[in-house]
Assembly symmetry: C2
């Protein structure tokens, strides 16, 4: 029962001390959520009030079904951007149709996440590598930040996911620059940044919102053209069944899958980081998917757009002392109270302040440091990051992350198809054999070739293995009598590789060369025995270490070579039939 | 120059002895080619004469541009089947449109193969694993064989790529069974099989053809309803530019890619097998693609459908003594002479004989042995074979092979995402550490955990590594003081894994546990140094073998543990920025 309802893990033992921490944290996060929620709704292409709707039901459902006790679920910048990108080409942002589609999207995201969790597919998120996430996030942050330029400058810029189009439009309309709007926006950024420096527990965005409202109200700035939020409807969102049509389901599917995965990834990353600090409970990736799925499904029936666990609010929730999901429930109650009684206060809120909140939040995500680190430490991963970054900027968010994932997987395949191969020699005065290219002092015997292959041996590299081994054998120019395959780093052997080895060893044996294997790990030894390849190699010709093999060869090698000369080695390996006509 | 025109490798040194072998082989293969070419043309949905057209120009061009000296290029069963499958839904087999499309297809296949060769992409063929090839071939052989049932039974069966449809239609029309046709067909099969047993150098199919023609002619069997080839046009095919339209190019592209790859695979497999016997020349996979590409492009201008190097004729060519590409040129000349003078002889050739030639050829391809072998030796690969086999039978040829390839690649990723992990203990009385699950006698110390991870450590398994390591550490119940990661089988370390290791090691160090690495291979040591992770582990804490690490810990471990207690270990690894908001 606890497995399906993680809330039962903490609720029965809930204490006054827990509540003290949860109350403080819940109120702090709730206060942050008001401006952030409205800002991210605006970013997602919805009226700001929808950001508050998305900050109620989903939080409560996650508290019941989620396994993290500090995760703060709700609207986040990345998902907001994915919404406006994905739905923007189906309807005009802000329109009724757009709102309906965004809510349907939440339902779809929820169903996808729930299904992934139920079918225990949470591991899929591991296929997003660190460089891909970093490159994608930096590019998305740039696009998100620049998409707010129009609110900050007070000019019209057509919405675009392409950075150059945004910049060109901005430069072309620079003569329409509205100075009071710019002043409020820049002021907002400065206030948030200064407060962040001074004391991280002061909700800078809320201070900026209060100052912005007071400023506009005091000087009637809306009359000189500063754009304000205007009327915000009061009241809790009504229970509404999202409008479903097969057309919209089909069109929304790609973006729903992207949001389901990206949202989960963001959420699980921060949940893991916080759980590692506490350790008084366990995170379960699949139950997390179920928790987020329930949050999105339930939210969709109360006008919420897609939500997930966010980085900054979760960190604040934890720092402010959250002990259990009760903190999130308290945040949600605060938002409900706001919806019921406080919405008139936001009438004069300038949109430039919401833009400044978004810009500060997302520009912090641009990750130069990781790129610099990878340039030094791992050039391949640097190019992976750069490609994902450029692909996201130029081809859009979904394609960018897709290209990143496919590239990383292709790299895995490519690496295992052309692995590192070393020829080993003996370190003088020791029993150790090392790569001749890294240890120039090692000694090689003309009659012995020691080869180490650093990858699983399987269909995609079997041919490469054979070519390389034959090449190394040829370089010994006829003096070669023994080949030792150091199989330490061969962590798997498939049937294609077995067929290749069988041909290869037979060929060597026919040429009077003995073949030994050393250091084969258990699973590889299993394959050698099961496939019958061991009979071709000889049961006595498997060794733990290279020096054992060399000693054995010096002992009985001459006999073995004689045997090879006089009759071909028997093989029990089934010969495959001719495959082709 | 020789690199681009491999013929220059042998032509200048061509000798009388070479010619003797080439003449005998060329004539033998040419004689085989006549019935096989006609049969495969019929299988491909084209009039039999097109099989002879495809046996002229392509052979000569391959002799000039190909690197194998024994490969016999021409019509083959698998490619013929792919043609009728791929083009069959665009035009009625046998119609003028169908013939035009099949010839255009040869041009496309040639251009694709030529491009793959020029861009040195020949390695792509390595991604077809042995079980996938075997499963696909067996299924295709079944489909091909059954597609000839109608010719053998003398009944009408609608063309289908689905085995159950063919069988149902055959049973439903069994009352129309034409006994004389069946007799000729079965007779043909028996003659071919018996001659194959008796002496492999007698061209059984040609004997069956001669007997079939004599039988029909002698008893006027065409008048009782035995279907015959009838008029075969005389003369060499005219130079004709294939009719190209953008519509047909688009529709033919998927099948052209499939034929280009499958054809190349068949050809390179047999070329390698034969080259391994001779070794007096080198095969080059990319030049092979160029050779086959030129053969198909050139052939398309002389009414040839797609061709490739075939298994059985190449084997015969080699056995009959072929020394160089001259043998193929001689075969082609024999076919030209046949086209010019002998076509009237084929008027009375019964189609049932052609069907019997196809059936004998392809049923030999059904590979029970490999399936049986894999069931015992490698269960995963057995299921891979079975899946490809069933997918090809039920979903069709192109989809079948596609599913096979994608499955094999997914398996590679899956295997590396959940690799084998072993906890090691000391073999009593030795310095060796072995998997506790395979060597029950090994000893483990309560304060030391030795873990071996048998895969590259990278984004897709970094999380799994961490989970498993933490779990194994927890099982030590607080007594743990040292973790030794035996990295012998870790053949790569990417930046996601570095970040994970950094977090993981820091966490252990904070809990008063020292972390050592043993047996890291060169490329992994490079990453440890470049990423700065070495500073966190400690430069003195890398060892060659586990027993070195244990000795070091027994020596200075207490000091190291004291250090951990008093101040956190300095790390030079760049911390990544927060990725998310």
């Amino acid at each position: 029962m606890k497995r399906f309802l993680p809330i039962l893990d903490w609720l029965p033992r809930y204490s006054g001390i827990d509540f003290k921490g949860d109350l403080s944290a819940g109120l702090t996060v709730g206060v942050m959520l008001i401006p952030q929620g409205m800002a991210y709704a605006m970013l997602a292409g919805l009226p700001p009030i929808y950001g508050l709707y998305a900050s109620t039901i989903p939080l409560m459902l996650y508290a019941i079904f989620g396994t993290s006790r500090q995760l703060a679920v709700g609207p986040v910048a990345m998902v907001a951007l994915l919404i406006v990108t994905g739905v923007g080409h189906m309807a005009e942002p802000g329109s009724e149709t757009f709102i309906g589609l965004a809510i349907l999207l939440a339902l779809m995201v929820g169903v996808i996440q729930l299904s992934l969790g139920v079918f225990r597919l949470g591991f899929l998120v591991n296929f997003l590598s660190h460089p891909v996430i970093s490159g994608f996030t930096s590019a998305a942050a740039l696009i998100i930040g620049l998409s707010q330029l129009k609110h900050l400058l007070g000019i019209e810029i057509p919405r675009s996911n392409f950075i150059h189009e945004i910049l060109i439009s901005a430069v072309q309309s620079i003569d329409q620059l509205h100075l009071p709007t710019l002043g409020i926006g820049v002021g907002g950024i400065v206030v948030i940044l200064i407060l962040k420096r001074l004391n991280r527990s002061i909700p800078g965005p809320l201070v900026a919102v209060v100052l912005g409202v007071l400023l506009v109200y005091g000087f009637a700035l809306q009359e000189v053209g500063v754009k304000i939020v205007q009327e915000v409807p009061q009241g809790f969102p009504k229970f509404t069944i999202p409008a479903v049509s097969s057309d919209s389901l089909t069109s929304l599917l790609p973006i729903a899958i992207t949001i389901a995965l990206v949202g989960f990834m963001e959420s699980i990353a921060v949940a893991k980081a916080i759980q590692a600090k506490h350790k008084n409970y366990q995170l379960d990736a699949n139950q997390e998917l179920i928790g987020l799925g329930m949050a999105n499904i339930g939210g969709a029936f109360f006008k919420a757009f897609p939500t997930t666990g966010g980085f900054s609010r979760t960190a604040v929730n934890d720092q402010a002392g959250a002990k259990t999901g009760m903190a999130s429930i308290i945040s949600a109650v605060l938002i409900v109270l706001t919806l019921l009684f406080l919405t008139p206060l936001f009438y004069y809120l300038p949109q430039a302040i919401l833009a400044s909140i978004i810009m500060v939040a997302v520009f912090g995500l641009i990750d130069f440091k990781e790129a610099k680190h990878l340039w030094k430490a791992d050039r391949t991963d640097f190019y992976m990051l750069l490609t994902t970054f450029i692909a996201t900027l130029t081809l859009g968010i979904e394609l960018g992350i897709g290209i990143g994932v496919i590239l990383s997987l292709a790299m895995v395949i490519y690496r295992s198809a052309y692995p590192h191969i070393a020829s080993l020699g003996k370190v003088p005065g020791t029993q150790y054999y090392r790569n001749v290219e890294r240890f120039p002092q090692v000694e090689q015997r003309p009659d012995i070739l020691v080869m180490r292959f650093d990858a699983p041996l399987f269909f995609a590299n079997a041919d490469y293995f054979k070519q390389k081994l034959q090449l190394m054998a040829q370089e010994k120019e006829g003096e070669l009598r023994l080949i030792i395959l150091n199989a330490e780093a061969i962590n798997n052997l498939d049937s294609s590789a077995v067929h290749m080895l069988q041909d290869c060893i037979q060929e060597f044996q026919q040429n009077g060369i003995v073949f030994y294997i050393t250091g084969a790990i258990g699973p590889v030894r299993d394959v050698l025995y099961k496939s019958g390849l061991i009979n071709q190699i000889g049961k006595d010709n498997l060794f733990m270490h290279v020096h054992h093999a060399v000693a054995h060869f010096d002992n009985v090698g001459d006999e073995q070579l004689e045997l090879l000369k006089h009759h071909a080695v028997q093989t029990n390996v089934d010969q495959p039939g001719n495959l082709w006509d």
